[in-house]
């Protein structure tokens, strides 16, 4: 990280055009962002998260669309759904897989094992959403006998 410095001019008239008179990157400790671009700034400030949270109340019907969200801005969901948290209030009776889809195409799964309340998450690669793309979560095609009351927080990062 470079130092931030005035570029050789005095502040004789009590005014400073910071766009003209500074260079480099201003550290967070000095009130800056520690970055020279938006993505880097968001990351340094810890505000890059773009999480989507929802609940399933009761037992989801077979193949039900339990969540649907149209992206108003670009974001990405990490491979393996890293960071995403899902937990059921009542465990599954048998293996039950939720499908996470982008514009109708599956990109990840959350699979509850029999007697499990926390699913195994899978996504082969990072998935990028642009504004207008649709994130959809679909319940298992066969309704599980017991799986119910599930909370989801799908973790994304602003692009």
């Amino acid at each position: 990280m470079g130092k931030t410095q005035l570029t050789g001019r005095n502040i004789a008239d009590d005014s400073l055009d910071i766009n003209q008179e500074t260079s480099g990157v201003l550290a967070i400790a000095q009130g800056g962002t520690g970055a020279n671009n938006a993505a880097g700034a968001r990351s340094n400030l810890g505000v890059q998260g773009y999480d989507v949270a929802f609940r399933v109340v009761g037992k989801p019907a077979a193949g039900a669309v339990v969540a649907e969200f149209i992206a108003p801005r670009a974001f990405t969901i990490a491979s393996a759904l890293s960071g995403t948290q899902i937990k059921a209030g009542t465990a599954a009776a048998a293996s039950a897989a939720f499908s996470l889809r982008k514009n109708g195409t599956e990109f990840g799964t959350a699979t509850f094992a029999a007697a499990g309340t926390v699913p195994t998450l899978a996504a082969a690669s990072q998935t990028s959403f642009a504004a207008g793309d649709v994130l959809r979560v679909v319940a298992p095609a066969t309704a599980d006998a017991t799986l119910a009351d599930i909370v989801f927080t799908v973790v994304g990062v602003l692009a």
Partner: protein, 250 residues
Amino acid sequence: MLVVLPDYRAPSYTPPDSANLRLWYDASQNENSSNQPASNGQAVARALNRGTLGGYFTQTDSGKRASHVASPPSLDFPASGNGFLTSPTLALSSQGVMSFVGIIDTTGSSFTDYTPPVLFSRGGSGGINATGLSFNGGKLGFTWNDASETWSWTGGVTLPSNARCAVAGVVDASGATATGTIYCVTSALVTTSASMIFPGPQPLSGSSTTWDVGHDPFQDRHYRGAISHALLYTSLLSQAQIEEIAAALL
């Protein structure tokens, strides 16, 4: 940044005899985000088969489509074009007993002859080429037509005009004499017991069959009115079960 979506709430109602509920169209469970099909062939609503996703009802032809009704969630069938839904293929060969149940709104309907307000099939392979409820002479009854073109319509219930109601047909063609009953349920129950349909035993479905909601493919006959639910059972529902469904879904 955290985006919180509304809760998904599981359907509060499970119809009776779920083991024999082979096809269920529920307009409140439409798949398309806008609750209307955006293009031919696109999924319109989930087709539940014994509680399992059996595929999706689709609209496959060009023409005027059924429009979405907000409350209660329904599709308003326009009596023309592709204003109907087609189920995934079902293998129900040699079924001699069936029950049909529909939750419909007759607003705008003139009960045109041969138009089906619930589910109707032209059979596919397997020896049967028509099964379903349809109108005749302004009344709702049951149509059956075997591969040898032995056609018949029987039953007969007059539905209320401009009203939401449950209609049902229960048909038993497993014995030597086929029998059936047609129901219409509103605030007061109307029932007719059909006499003999035709000699049995007979199948009521082909071995590879799709079912249309609000449409008979023969001569492109279309129902006019709204349909919110259509259920097909391979069993004989009792009057109490039909009344239960009506009470829950009307």
